[in-house]
Symmetry: C2
Subunit: 600 residues, 2 copies
């Protein structure tokens, strides 16, 4: 392609709308243009990158036997009502755009396709003989984000590959899940990206096991905890670890102590000469279910630890049915205003004990008049601990579970921290990295098939719900994440496998017929050799052309400059900026060798 004929406009200045480097660079280098908040046009260069990422995804999916399909973007509300997700996705704070058609029927714009594919499977899959199946699509999705930002990273319209598998049993699901894990590793590797597969939370999608693929980058929104031995990596939302060991408590006798002005762990420990690892602190939460009920929650956790709200939300989701609800729609730490609605008298905050009476909660129609009591293992295993006495300025010391307090259900709720010891090997310490979530695979289990009645006939003739998995990759996010991972002060450094073009031939001076002729010949030769090549034949200064070539990040640049007199051209590698002067006749072979070495 000749740059003189391409719709190609670069900007000198960083656009004001962009916050992170990759977003700035894609705008400056003419890859994308903003049409509305979180909505972008992919210009020709960007579209080539997206097509290359898609093609790598397609090849790896096809290699596993998955079948490509395309499902509708407009989805009838009825399907989402069947799965029970319409309320959380399309209403209130939901992230699904919804609309009415001319018949006043409700439709949603697909952010994901579990419902549609389950309806298709319900229709088409009748027998175990048709199983397993794995269907995928590469498609634009929609999310009505609260705060669209970072360009393609968190857009309202974005390209996803999503796959859905169906199985006769859990073992078959596990096999496909493992195949997808491998396919995803292949995809990110082939795209030329540094990534990490991590244990993840399943979120609103539901299901049991799930794993995220994080593209490592400093501007990543996600924090990953991992061990150097490579045997453990997890999203901080999900990570587990061994906390620092508790120091044995010196309080061997249970007694109530006056502890004036000690409503923080620090002040309490200072007053009692105790260590935070000897304290059981109580934390209050308030959950709101989809049936409108508020649930007050009392969590006991060790004094030096903090609650991971994602883990807590998951626990509440598992327990939703106990409260006549399907799901949790909000989880908050109740503020003074909220507490007024709970309680008649003010609670002794900072002095709460694990036995805070249910009667502390005002019986109010919207409130479930009993605490959900949970204890984190860090607190559950303490002996002779310090904790609140449910009275301002008083604590108890030397307390023990069951002897002094009934022990609530034990649930892992703590936030793992950098520096924690790993569970698999206590000599390994958790380190932290930032990443961009670019893929996520889930074992959904029976959640959707049961809700929507997608069953099959087993070999024994019984009717059972289909086992399901789902597997997503953010194609447009991968493209931008590649830039976030790989750029310098001059611009983008594309991995060769997904660069829009592999080479650019620059004519420093287009009035020099010798330069033009040589460049045209090299351009034709490279193109004929199957190398995707740009020819910068614009009537611009050489400096502008070099700057643009660096900015758009084409891996290999060939310059038909001064050395042409000796039958040579300059070749520059974008990533290393290494430059050499080689014979015109060896350009094709040199670039071919470089590409072969760069593409894995």
């Amino acid at each position: 392609m000749r740059l003189s004929q391409m719709l190609f406009v670069t900007l000198r200045e960083d656009p004001a709308e962009a916050e992170i480097p990759s977003h700035k660079l894609l705008l400056r280098a003419g890859y994308i243009r903003r049409i509305a908040s979180g909505i972008y046009a992919y210009l020709p260069l960007m579209w080539r990158v997206l097509r290359k990422v898609s093609q790598i995804v397609r090849e790896e999916m096809d290699a596993t036997g998955a079948q490509e399909t395309l499902l509708p973007q407009l989805q009838p509300a009825e399907l989402w009502q069947e799965s029970g997700r319409w309320e959380t996705y399309a209403k209130a704070e939901g992230i699904m755009f919804s609309l009415d058609d001319r018949q006043q029927r409700q439709l949603g714009l697909g952010p994901t396709h579990e419902e549609v594919i389950t309806a298709v499977a319900r229709d088409l899959i009748r027998s175990y003989r048709q199983l397993p199946q794995n269907l995928y699509q590469i498609q634009t999705k929609f999310r009505d984000e609260i705060r669209p930002r970072f360009g393609l990273m968190r857009g309202r319209e974005f390209i996803m590959k999503d796959a859905y598998s169906f199985h006769a049993d859990e073992e078959s699901l596990r096999q496909t899940y493992a195949a997808m894990d491998q396919a995803y590793r292949n995809i990110f590797r082939r795209c030329g990206l540094q990534f990490r597969a991590v244990e993840a939370d399943s979120g609103a999608i539901g299901g049991s096991a799930s794993q995220e693929f994080m593209i490592l980058a400093d501007a990543g929104e996600d924090e990953i905890l991992y061990t150097e031995d490579g045997r453990y990596a997890a999203n901080v939302e999900k990570a587990v670890s061994l906390p620092a060991e508790a120091i044995a408590s010196a309080f061997t006798t249970f007694e109530k102590r006056e502890t004036p002005g000690t409503d923080t762990i620090a002040s309490l420990c200072e007053f009692l000469k105790a260590d935070p690892t000897q304290v059981v602190k109580q934390v209050l939460y308030q959950a709101v279910f989809d049936n409108g009920k508020l649930l007050p929650i009392l969590i006991s956790i060790r004094g030096d630890q903090s609650v991971n709200e994602i883990k807590l939300t998951n626990e509440l989701t598992r327990r939703a049915a106990d409260y006549g609800a399907k799901t949790v729609i909000a989880l908050t730490v109740p503020d003074a205003e909220a507490l007024k609605k709970w309680t008649a008298a003010p609670l002794p905050l900072g002095y709460l004990g694990p036995d805070l009476a249910d009667s502390a909660i005002a019986v109010n129609e919207s409130i479930i008049p009993k605490f959900l009591r949970l204890v984190d293992p860090t607190a559950a295993e303490l002996q002779n601990f310090v904790t609140g006495a449910n009275e301002v300025n008083f604590h108890v010391v030397g307390a023990n579970w069951e002897t002094n307090f009934p022990k609530p259900a034990v649930v892992d709720l703590r936030t793992a921290l950098v520096g924690d010891r790993a569970q698999h090997d206590s000599s390994q310490v958790l380190a932290s990295a930032r990443g961009i979530e670019a893929g996520h695979i889930f074992q959904l289990g029976l959640k959707y098939s049961q809700a929507m009645g997608a069953t099959f006939t087993t070999e024994n003739g019984t009717e059972e719900p289909l086992w399901m998995g789902c597997y997503g990759i953010g194609v447009s996010r991968v493209a931008q994440a590649a830039v976030e991972q790989s750029y310098d002060k001059d611009g983008i450094i594309w991995p060769v496998a997904i660069a829009p073009y592999q080479a650019v031939v620059v004519i420093p001076n287009i009035t020099d017929t010798e330069q033009v002729a040589a460049a045209e010949k090299i351009y034709a030769d490279l193109t004929a050799a199957g190398i995707e090549t740009l020819l910068d034949d614009r009537d611009e200064r050489a400096g502008v052309k070099f700057k643009d070539a660096d900015l758009i990040g084409i891996p290999y640049r060939i310059v038909t400059g001064r050395s042409l007199k000796e039958g040579k051209v300059e070749v520059v590698q974008r990533a290393s900026k290494e430059s050499s002067v080689i014979a015109v006749g060896s350009v094709v072979e040199t670039v071919q060798d470089w590409i072969a070495a760069a593409i894995v």
Copy 2:
């Protein structure tokens, strides 16, 4: 691909929801599944067809130098307000789905992209040096159809290729328009389709010249009029022709005659012993503009002719500004109810003359108190004609324009008919065919660039609006139209170029190890030779497999049946049903030759 592993379900019966053969066949053969009215899932076989059509489109577009891009599907209302189309597209009877985001900002779901691309061009194109440009995308579009039907033919979600070109002058636009015309002919030819390029109406898109590409099929919604010499073809909405020659009138004196009970052309002609070609009849219409005003229209046309409402709508759109409006939103023949709002006294219907007084219209706020008077050339050229006297039971005879009646503006408004003589050669007669509109190219001119301020700096330094063209192909419609054009009682007959697979190897009896081994070998050999092949290794009866192979329409079938004992297999061509028995060793070469011969 092995059919045993594919999500592949055929139906024995025609689905009740389908009306036309192609829709029935695509459902029965497992290509598509309905998710909601006018909304379909493309199953794996269908998706392969759609990808093949897309790839042919892409190659032909790229060959013209057009650049592929992807524009957003969600489009801000502001852009459509700039072009003035929001009211007609998103409101009232509009076909654009619209919705509000969480910030209560209005968005439309793109049925087309003139506005978005013009906004992009306004941003990126500054100078004549950047011109011409032609950008295209292949994308799912949305239309809130009043009556979605015929499967993918008129869906609410469908795949389009749309391209938009930008130019410094009209001549450059004409060149790209011609290149697109040729590219479209190449595309339909390469898809293996019988088609006709026809003159077309520009409709709501606007602009001057436009041409449609019709895939010929009996179930087509469009009527085409064409001449056998191949020099003329047009959509009936747009077609022109020479009407039958008028018989010279014998009424040489102008006089009023009592003509009792002659409120039809037939009864009038019988009474006066006149010919319909000697009569000027008056037809009333009522237009509603986007500003809410009603315009009464009085059209004079020859007695044997009828008004083409598309031509009339176009004329009104051209005149909208005269009435303080941007566009026409409805055109109807006023019924008795509507006429009551126009007139104080009943009009002498059946006896109207070209001089029907403006005072016949009640001055009513919503009505423009003067007729728009137009005369079709068929009536304008008559002499000594018969026409109404504006009095029940009375006509005038021997009338002439200007002498007896002022002559209104002459505008071509007549409907061309089968059997009319062609304008380019009166020895050619118009014939009729039915077609499915699958492509449409437009010279838009300055309509969008002027409305949205998309200008460029000319070589002389002046600022001028960009000249624009737009070019669409209905990719999903092409795929279904191919079926509508090519099927038989047993199923689909895909053109080889867009068949989901080129060959299917059928194992009649999968318990016969010799059959299985031979089939596996042939399957492997065909696949290795780059021939897209299905292997029907399902545990089904041979009859079921043959029926399915015919139904899904794979061009070449190889059967490892009885003749295997002699080292031979049966090969069957789907289109002709010709069957032959050939040596196993020559299967690959035979199929390769067939494919090479079939793909143009």
